[in-house]
């Protein structure tokens, strides 16, 4: 989860998020250098004593400041498109989970090996145990295995919601009447938090998502499979 006043991205828990962090670092360095150049140009403009009212054209400069940004954009676009296609790669998910958004809770369905369906409500502050996270912890977490490709089918029963888990690099809109699909493979166990990311009413901020990622052997032994 994010810590207080965190500005940067959370640590990656999936290969796609690792790639996204790498791309973010790459784009940020380019942006930093461009901003530095623009700031310097602004400083020069404000402090120069030179004035020339007769400039009519500057063909070479205009050529440079057209071609150079085009090259920079290509340098940013190529890794971006690579990651975009990587997220849509066809793999063979081991497990399919359905996530249905409601006002203001999530319903999860594990229907591959039976009919496990449960709701996931945020824990009200009065019901928190010591160590629980306020406005983030839920009564029933989504328990999933690591190192197995998982397919999430996301939809909504009422208004628009969005199922987001930043550490996995996931954010998928839950749209009534539509099934959206996203796949991911988690690389390390732990408890990971997300929040609804599409305004959906009064309690939009109070319908978090909590994933509990456990080793596959323990997932196979656990109560999720005994129905």
């Amino acid at each position: 989860m994010a810590h207080a006043a965190q500005v940067g991205l959370q640590d990656a828990t999936s290969p796609i998020m690792e790639e996204l962090i790498t791309f973010h670092d790459h784009a940020l360095m380019i942006i930093f250098l461009i901003s530095f150049l623009v700031l310097y140009a602004l400083f020069l403009t404000l402090t120069t004593k030179l004035t020339n009212t007769n400039i009519s054209d500057a063909q070479e400069m205009e050529t440079v400041w057209t071609i150079l940004p085009a090259i920079i954009l290509v340098l940013i676009a190529l890794p971006s498109l690579r990651i975009l296609y990587m997220t849509d790669e066809v793999n063979d998910p081991s497990l399919t989970i359905k996530s249905i958004g409601h006002q203001w809770y999530w319903t999860y369905e594990y229907t591959d090996y039976g009919g496990l369906i449960f709701n996931s409500y945020m824990l009200p502050p009065l019901f928190l145990e010591p160590g629980d996270l306020r406005l983030l912890d839920v009564d029933n977490r989504v328990v999933l295995p690591i190192e197995a490709p998982i397919r999430m089918m996301i939809t909504s029963q009422d208004v628009l919601h969005s199922w987001a888990v930043p550490t996995l690099g996931l954010k998928t809109d839950a749209i009534p009447g539509r099934l959206n699909q996203t796949t991911f493979t988690a690389t390390r166990p732990g408890v990971y938090y997300g929040q609804c990311s599409e305004i959906c009413g009064a309690n939009h901020s109070f319908m978090p998502i909590v994933l509990e990622l456990i080793p596959l052997k323990i997932f196979e032994m656990g109560p999720v499979f005994t129905l």
Binding site: H3, G8, T22, D25, M29, I30, L33, F36, L37, Y40
Partner: protein
């Protein structure tokens, strides 16, 4: 990278308050070399020409070019290293899983080299 600093650990410092050069791979290395390149280029230009403003321009240009060059070079090597680490991890897993069986990668490799 995203964890808050523990009580015993030194506070993390960010360049200009928001650029996390400590935890971003290659960032610190690129900015340091860029700064050095900027000083060398700008000061060197000034020594030869005694033109202050133009030397500042050369310094800024040097910073941008050297930082960018170091950054791409370092990130390319970092990406190669990550790929090699991933391949090594997969091979170690395969070796542990298939050791002694007909799928043992070492047996296949020895078999093909003896042929």
């Amino acid at each position: 990278m995203a964890a808050p600093p523990e009580p015993g650990e030194p506070e993390e410092r960010k360049l200009l308050g928001f650029l996390d050069v400590e935890n971003t791979p290659c960032a610190r290395h690129s900015i340091l070399y860029g700064s050095l390149g900027s000083v060398v280029a700008g000061f060197g230009h000034f020594l030869f020409t005694s033109r202050i403003r133009r030397s500042c321009d050369v310094g800024v240009g040097g910073f941008i070019l050297v930082t960018l060059g170091c950054w791409f070079h370092c990130r390319y090597n970092y990406a190669k290293q990550r790929i090699q680490e991933r391949i090594a991890r997969e091979e170690i897993k395969k070796k542990i899983l298939y050791e002694g069986t007909h799928l043992d990668p070492e047996r296949k490799h020895n078999g093909s080299s003896s042929n």
